[in-house]
């Protein structure tokens, strides 16, 4: 067993184990933490596949931004745990049967006979001065520049949509009223109170 294979099986084990822990954990915050672990394992496997830029992007964007957003929403909404898992047992056998059938079928289709090393040979590793980011950037800014622009517009639309959705209405927002501020009088804000000055103590 080569070192590549050992790394692959270690990362795959943690990927599968943390994904299983994620779907079966009763606490949503713990599920997010397990999902972070499985994203890290996925990023490790992507580095084995020499996709360094995407692996780092997965960690930065997904673990750094999206998962933190999930944690933020979970903590903000303060979900009642007891009501969420009411139908847990009812759908589990059906889900397991469907998943087992799909895995069996996929293993038959994707097994060593069709995609093994003797059919699709493993490519030679790139040299040490190979830059994954340069190769991706060359493609992204020439061939795929129009989809790249569209992706940027999509992100802008997503920002606008998210802000518009959660934006509160006029009445519940704290807002500045210029006319009230201008027309305010001194007697509205300042209240003069006469206080008896303390008498000097005789020495």
């Amino acid at each position: 067993m080569t070192f590549d294979q050992i790394l692959f099986y270690v990362f795959s084990f943690w990927f599968i184990a943390s994904s299983l822990a994620m779907i079966f954990s009763r606490n949503a915050a713990k599920a997010v933490l397990f999902l972070i672990l499985s994203f890290f394992s996925a990023a490790s496997i992507w580095i084995l596949l020499e996709a360094e830029f995407l692996a780092i992007t997965l960690i930065l964007v997904y673990v750094g931004a999206v998962m933190v957003l999930f944690l933020f929403v979970i903590k903000m909404l303060n979900i009642d745990k007891s009501t969420l898992r009411a139908k847990f047992a009812g759908y589990l056998p059906l889900g397991l049967i469907v998943a087992a059938i799909i895995i069996a079928e996929m293993t038959l289709v994707l097994g060593g006979n069709q995609f093994g090393l003797d059919v699709v040979a493993a490519p030679a590793r790139h040299a040490a001065d190979y830059s994954n980011i340069t190769v991706l950037a060359m493609q992204l800014y020439t061939t795929y520049v129009y989809p790249f622009e569209l992706a940027a517009v999509l992100l802008l639309i997503a920002i606008i949509a998210a802000i518009t959705l959660v934006h509160r209405n006029e009445a519940s927002r704290k807002k500045q009223s210029i006319s009230e501020q201008v027309s305010v009088q001194a007697k509205d804000r300042v209240r003069l109170v006469s206080i008896a000055s303390p008498k000097k103590e005789a020495k």
Binding site: I45, A51, I102
Partner: protein, 101 residues
């Protein structure tokens, strides 16, 4: 050496775990979103494995765009979730039956 079929079977297993997660966590919208993320990562692993073994960078470009779209989807999904919680007081799927579908 690790063969292409190993990577493909791994991502098939992860895909099915995400699918079971959707079956099991039917009442919790947040976990449903997380299972969709898991399925997307499995699909991305497929893309990257093919990109590596066939020597074509187009697969990695596709993963780049999938990550972009998934980030946008999560942002809007969580915004809808917040709105749902604000209006219904719960994020249980069972309360979202206003349309009587």
């Amino acid at each position: 050496m690790v063969s292409l079929s190993d990577y493909l079977i791994l991502s098939a297993i992860i895909f099915c775990i995400g699918l079971v997660g959707i079956f099991v966590n039917r009442t919790n919208i947040i976990t449903l979103l997380m299972c969709v993320e898991l399925i997307l990562v499995a699909v991305n692993t497929n893309f990257i494995a093919f990109s590596h073994f066939l020597g074509n960078e187009a697969g990695q470009i596709f993963v780049f765009f999938i990550l972009t779209v998934a980030a946008a989807e999560v942002a809007i999904g969580l915004a809808i979730l917040t709105l749902l919680f604000r209006n219904k007081g719960s994020i249980n799927v069972d309360v979202t039956n206003s349309l009587k579908g």
